[in-house]
Amino acid sequence: MKTMMTSSNDETDYFLNLCDDPIRFEPASAINSVFYDECGKQVFAVRSGGATGVIVKSPVKDNNHTFQMEDKGSLASLKLSPDQKILALQRHKNSVEFLNVVNNELSSLEYSQQCKGKHSIILGYIWVSAREILFITNNGLEFYHVRFAILSLSVYAEKQSLKCLKTLSMNVAWYEHSAITDTMLVATGSAFHPVLLCPGNVVRLPKFSLDSQHTVTERDVALAQIYGENSVLFLKHQLHGSVSVTVEIVIYTVTRETGAKKSHVLKVDQSGRVAINVVDNLVILHHQPSQTSLTFDVNLPGESDGYVIYHEPVTFPLPIKPQELDGSPCTLYSTMWVAFQPDVIIDAKTGSLWHLHLNLPAIVQHITNKLKLVQFLVGRGGPMAKSTLLRVLYLSISPEIGPGMCILAKIFDLLNGMYRVHLDKTVQSQMGLPAHGGPKLPPLPAQVPFHMMVCDQSDMYMHVFLTLVNEYKNTCPTNIRSAMIEYLRSLGQFHIPVQHFIIELLIDNLVTDSAFYQLHQLLQYNVIPDSKPMACTLLALRSMYEPAHQVALDMLKRLGTANEEILEILLSNFQIISAIRFMEEAEGSFQSSFAPKKFLEAALTNGNPLVFHSVFKYLQMRNLNLRNSPEFIPSEACDVYVNKFMEMFGADA
């Protein structure tokens, strides 16, 4: 509520807006009738029965047409075949006429098809594919194949005809159809039949009926695809006194295997005229009287009775963003509006077709619960989605406004759960085997949306942690550090190996805070994974924190592949004796050839003549064992040291 009062006129209040370039057409009038074909997304403006032209408008440029045809009486509907070659239209209640489109002209030859049943009435027809059409009559479904040939000569007209492929008899009250899911919902009295339309076939799924006993009209039904699922939405009304109140939206999920299953219930409670759109997998309910819209996300957790999940709106009701039309503000939520699935709104009065868009940054303002917000955002597609999510994460960790570690932990677990699944998928696709043989994972915190937004470690690093560290350089790093630790924990929980740059950042943070003892504890418990680069980082810390040196050596030792490095470090540290002892211990694990010069040089600079003496003697012994002579070979270039030894200890030493 608060946000409402304070910033009601704020841009960010409008999280829904109509597209800026609506498709315009001549408004409906006495002489101009307008039709919309949901399948082809085409608006047909038919002036005086088509005699003065049929103008077809579509978001797809190639699907814009202008035709002429003779006026043979009033039209019930027009639909172009998907390949735009045949125009089907209905003038009589028991037949459908066809006109071929030849070079963007309607051929004068018209052919028609009557429905089978003598007394049947055609409720409508659907292009299932370029040459297949389905008639829906009050007595059932008739599935036809359209034979097609370019004909110029009228004599062959009767040859032009359709072949019936299949009929399904059932008494049909009304039907709804979605081109996206190729699904049809057929209402037979109180029961409903989902019907799947696929090229060459029409499949009727088991019927189902709503638990409540109220009559449902096609206006109360919408078919849509939500998170990849083939869904049927029912508006459920109740009479409160005289006013009908839309109580809830009931969503059934349809699959070929299981038929329709009740899966979600969206709590509405709005009285008066409402309309549904589905935008970016969100169910949008427009409420005409209040001129506001409600948003629902079935991906968010809700209270569940084990079968059905009950959802609250994501936000309180908000209006669509005001829009200009022809230089003057256009009336939103006008009574002339008709909403088509998924995201189309048509205003026949002004003759405009809009697509409804989501304004993510705006919504962010209205979901105060950060966890809910993140759960909401990971479901979103579209260009803004990820950047918005990362921005939100950034804010969630910022010292002043962060929601705290508790929430943060849940957020990270959510993201990494999806990250894990993503990794598994990629790995599986790469080598066809599960990514982690390790212990079984904890159950994913939320159901994973089909298109799954993944925030990997580099995203977190670049857009969240690094930015934060830079911003709060000299204020309070502890909070950010806690967040990083929390993030590491979460990664670990999903068995995701942490990447070097994240650790680097953590270490920097600890170092700038000179929390070395804490750093040491992290190393102690292997929170910081072993690697040569890490060892180098630690070695570099030595000047500030002596023990780092020891830890680095341990790390190199554990790696087992870094004996050369260890040797170098010892020598550079003038621990020549240790170096040699180590070399003997790790016998034969050295690729690089042995250079006595290195040792003698180090021993000499080490300053203790005794060390130099021992090393020299040792090397002589070594030579003796190698080639039966204490002498160094010229290539080893040790004369300098031999002489040095002579002058220090005398020839006979």
Binding site: I577, L610, H613, S614, A653
Partner: protein, 448 residues
């Protein structure tokens, strides 16, 4: 005289002080402050002091006692303050950083060492014990105790007149010579062993003729060449060291024979023996000591010497002795190829309290190694938890310390020696020593 009275005053004050030691600070005099501030003072590696139980200065190794009157006072006070309490106790040592203070009370004397040489506590105790014995060998316990019985504040320096050099020499010697640590003497290496027997016989044959003769000893510079003794009169290494010290610090033998009373504490702390000392002859610089209980034996002993020389000369033994003395010690490389890796060793033959060692190599520092030997020695000989063997792997050397019923050995290796190699070398060394035993040690001491 004035000075003396001052001292008297000091001393009286000190007796009073025993109960009010808290006043002590107030007694530090100006010149003390100056002295103690000075670098010379602080750089001294090892101070050694002797004082009377009354706090009277008797000996100071490095600075003249006069300068240290109050310091002596404090030392005395500390010792007496600790000992004087309802249950009698003794001050033993104080540790302060690298400084180790060791106190030895040998009534009527108090001996104190202040060392930053890294020497072990037991070792410093032995050293002070030696110092005490040296004093006794000059005065005998009888005399020492007698004097103080008569006069508590007696200034012993009057009696110890010429003994300063003895004490200094003894300290220099005991600072470095392993003899002291091992409680053993070293014999001149003689090959073949038959030479040693011949010499002993020569000594024996002539010494046995004199009833009052207790010991006959033939010494090289630091080593024993031969010894004969009266039955039931063991010659303790400690006493031999005193004899060596006597020889060392006495230039008078350069010009012929000399005659001196000496008390050998292990033989009899109460009385003197009389010691005839002389180089064997002009052409042999070995030193002959003949000790007797009879104060008027100079001339007979002189004769004896001549006879011994004659018989030795007959057997061409003088040359042999000279030869051996020329060669002196032996280095590791002289020992045997099979002991490669060993830099230096000490080996004590426990049965005879004699030891042998290789000459210490230049490139190593005795100042460093000897304290290490001492530490290991201390561990090996711990009264409550003795050890059989100790192997130290250090940064610049490895040292093995090993004690068995028959021997005790300290062996130094380079720091990069492999243990297997070290062990092999040690075994070979032991073999070698066994093979050389009779020429390295004086195993049968003839008696008469």
């Amino acid at each position: 005289m004035a000075e003396v009275t001052v001292l008297e005053k000091d001393v009286n004050e000190m007796q009073l002080a025993q109960d009010e030691i808290t006043h002590l600070e107030r007694r530090w005099s100006q010149d003390d402050e100056l002295l103690h501030g000075s670098k010379e003072w602080r750089d001294v590696v090892k101070h050694v002091f002797i004082l009377s139980e009354a706090g009277k200065p008797i000996y100071s190794r490095h600075f003249s006692e006069e300068k240290l009157v109050s310091l002596f006072g404090v030392m005395q006070a500390l010792v007496s303050c600790v000992s004087d309490s309802e249950d009698p106790n003794e001050l033993e040592s104080i540790q302060a950083g690298g400084h180790l203070f060791v106190f030895l009370r040998r009534s009527p004397l108090i001996l104190v060492a202040v060392s930053q040489a890294g020497h072990s506590l037991p070792f410093l105790c032995i050293q002070l014990e030696y110092l005490y014995n040296q004093v006794v060998s000059v005065l005998t316990c009888n005399q020492l105790e007698g004097i103080y019985r008569q006069r508590k504040n007696y200034d012993l320096r009057r009696l110890l007149g010429g003994a300063e050099s003895l004490l200094n020499r003894l300290l220099d010697f005991t600072d470095d010579a392993p003899d002291v640590l091992l409680g053993a003497v070293r014999c001149l290496k003689l090959r073949p062993a038959s030479i040693r027997d011949a010499i002993s016989n020569a000594l024996l044959s002539h010494c046995s003729k004199l009833r009052t003769l207790v010991y006959g000893v033939l010494l090289a510079r630091e080593e024993v060449i031969g010894m004969v003794r009266m039955k039931r009169c063991q010659l303790h290494p400690g006493d031999i060291h005193l004899l060596l010290n006597l020889v060392r610090s006495n230039e008078s033998f350069q010009n012929g024979e000399s005659w001196a009373p000496i008390c050998l504490p292990h033989f009899d702390p109460m009385g003197f023996l009389y010691c005839y000392v002389s180089y064997l002859s002009e052409d042999c610089r070995a030193i002959l000591l003949l000790l007797t209980t009879d104060r008027d034996m100079f001339f007979p002993l002189s004769d004896t010497r001549c006879r011994i020389v004659e018989s030795l000369r007959k057997g061409k033994y003088l040359e042999k002795i000279n030869e051996a003395m020329e060669n002196g010690g032996y280095e590791m490389k002289d020992v045997d190829a099979s002991v490669g890796g060993i830099e230096h060793f000490l080996y004590k033959h426990r049965g005879s309290s004699q030891y042998t060692c290789s000459t210490f190599p230049q490139h190593l520092s005795w100042k460093r190694i000897y304290p290490l030997y001492q530490t290991l020695h201390q561990r090996i000989h711990s009264p409550t938890r003795p050890l059989k063997l100790l192997y130290l792997t250090g940064e610049t050397e490895c040292i093995l310390a090993w004690e068995t019923g028959e021997f005790e050995a300290y062996i130094t290796f380079g720091c990069l020696v492999q243990r297997s190699q070290a062990i092999a070398a040690v075994n070979n060394l032991l073999k070698w020593i066994k093979s050389q035993e009779s020429s390295l040690f004086l195993l049968n001491l003839p008696t008469f």
